[in-house]
Symmetry: C2
């Protein structure tokens, strides 16, 4: 990130981090280690994309960003509790190079490894619960009107619970099904909830906060920003799926082929399974659910996806979503923050990692 | 429940149930079975004590109860999400005679029993999360001012998250420790959070809602109602501990002695372990963590607790908390709802089940 937007992102992320670090909410929690677990995810990294998008939108709407930092921090904490519970569900041991919350909390009790695991998971459920309370507490601490606070919370319940948590639940359910049984429309609906909803909220709520009245939620610029967030999320997610097969481990950071190992439904896989002739389809399926993949395996899989037209299909889709995201932005006032949003989108969609 | 209060309780509980059943929030959740799981706990029973206490307090403060039903329903939903997550943590299979949420949800996927269990637990985490959003959505639907809504949510974050969830977490941590290492003060602090906080909130928030302005939260009557709720909860919890040893299974509904089987820290156990001479203390400890208890075992344990003075100590404590709860009520206006609160307290503290 070496463009204009990255300097602004860095400054705002620093301000958000100060609000999070200064919040007294987690310090009131007992046992004290549970309060510390609540702060460990935001402390361990993350780019603060959601809160910064929110603040850029607020600035575009003429808002005073400084007054709105707690609401932006709230969004980061909301995002992070979903990660804490996701990591329990996915049984992941590390996030951002550090132990996940449930692994970290397991170490707080002296007992057998099995009971430690149960203890860590139970405590991490509670840490994620507490972070939900914390997120809404931060919304409340923004310097804005009561009606804007109520609207921020109301829409976060819609986008953050109904849409995002439903998306997560459908994702869990899909992981128990075969990719062959999942349609592209179902996949997009799930991703739009799991990733799109909170980016939609971030961009759109920012505009409302910047205006300073609840009705701004329905202004055309707010709707355009919501669209921007939603298209960006889909393009971002598709880029992720692309890099999961075509990326380089050194850059992407997670094992190439892990999507295949999980049999994860992606645009590539759904498209290929639908369009390949029977023999090649069976060949592709033979590469799913393997414990590991050699360079030759991956080369073969890439050939199959390319031959099926799935790669072109995916890249066209990414280009389409990107164009739509950028078009939505064109409806916003021509200001520095609009360029930042546009540059950030290009960065995210063209990333190698 | 055959007194005056029970008729009012029944009517109000019915009104609260209508609000819960009519709420569209869970119907927007996907998969549909997850939305249904969100409604199953309130649908399976429960006395609606917390919301009814809230509404009686509101009536005492001169409020129009009908307008405040959604906030009361919110409290029931908030209480119920804590049960959903508690049941995962405690690995309980049934609640109110029905399968717990995670057991029920496990049946929604066809796979091995082990993977079903994981699926059920993961989905129940998400159901409890969604219910948190739902609770605050219901607060928002009450017919009251923006400042009262914000105050209701703010105090629910304090009492329902910081105090209640901390109490739950400390309870989990205590269950990994020996009762000998736990002081009575630590036990009371935990119970005050786990049970006292939400009853405090129920009674006190009701008064504020009835008055119709946020500053009523700090009026002497509100503080007195908060005290009432807190003392009531402690007395209720101690009665539970008493019945756990001295109750009759046919009435109490859970196996007598199960507290001993878990080695659970209770006033009885902590007092006896502290005050018994070494030999009898060792005898008492030999009764902990057993798989089952004969009538003779229980008779023996009862004798030990009685001989140690622990039973008298517990009954005196219950009487003391009850007196304090009733004294707090005396500060409220002399109206029907004050009698209801008083009668309900007597009923709960003298119950056999």
């Amino acid at each position: 990130m070496k463009n204009d937007f990255s300097a602004s992102l860095k400054i705002l992320a620093g301000e958000i981090d100060k609000v999070i670090a200064g919040s007294t909410f987690p310090r009131q929690v007992k046992p004290a280690y549970l309060g510390r677990a609540m702060t460990s995810y935001p402390a361990n990294g993350g780019k603060r994309l959601r809160p910064v998008i929110m603040l850029w939108s607020a600035a575009l709407a003429g808002g005073e960003v400084k007054k709105l930092l707690p609401a932006a921090a709230a969004l980061e904490i909301f995002h992070n509790w979903t990660l804490v519970h996701d990591d329990i569900i996915d049984d992941d041991d590390t996030r951002r190079g550090k132990p996940t919350a449930h692994i970290q909390l397991a170490g707080e009790v002296k007992t057998s490894p099995e009971r430690q695991k149960k203890f860590g998971s139970d405590m991490a459920i509670l840490a994620g619960d507490l972070m939900q309370g914390w997120a809404f507490e931060l919304i409340d601490q923004s310097d804005t009107s009561a009606e804007v606070k109520l609207k921020l919370a109301e829409e976060l319940r819609h986008f953050g619970y109904i849409r995002l948590v439903s998306g997560e639940a459908v994702d869990v359910a899909m992981s128990y099904d075969s990719a062959e049984n999942i349609t592209e429309a179902e996949l997009f609906a799930m991703q739009s909830g799991k990733t799109g909803a909170l980016l939609h909220y971030a961009a759109r709520a920012g505009w409302m906060m910047g205006r300073g009245y609840a009705a701004a939620w329905d202004e055309p610029e707010a709707a355009a920003l919501g669209e921007f967030g939603e298209y960006l999320a889909l393009a971002f997610q598709m880029r992720d799926d692309y890099l999961g097969i075509f990326g380089k481990f050194e850059e992407f950071g997670k094992p190439i082929g892990s999507d295949l190992a999980e049999g994860k439904a992606t645009v590539l896989l759904i498209h290929a399974l639908k369009n390949l002739p029977e023999a090649e389809k069976e060949l592709l399926k033979s590469y799913l659910y393997r414990a590991s993949y050699t360079a030759t395996d991956l080369e073969q899989v890439r050939k199959i996806f390319t031959g099926a037209g799935s790669v072109k299909y995916l890249l066209d889709l990414i280009a389409d979503k990107t164009t739509k995201a950028q078009k939505a932005l064109a409806q916003l006032p021509d200001a520095a923050e609009r360029s930042y949003l546009s540059e950030l989108a290009n960065y995210l969609i063209n990333r190698e990692k």
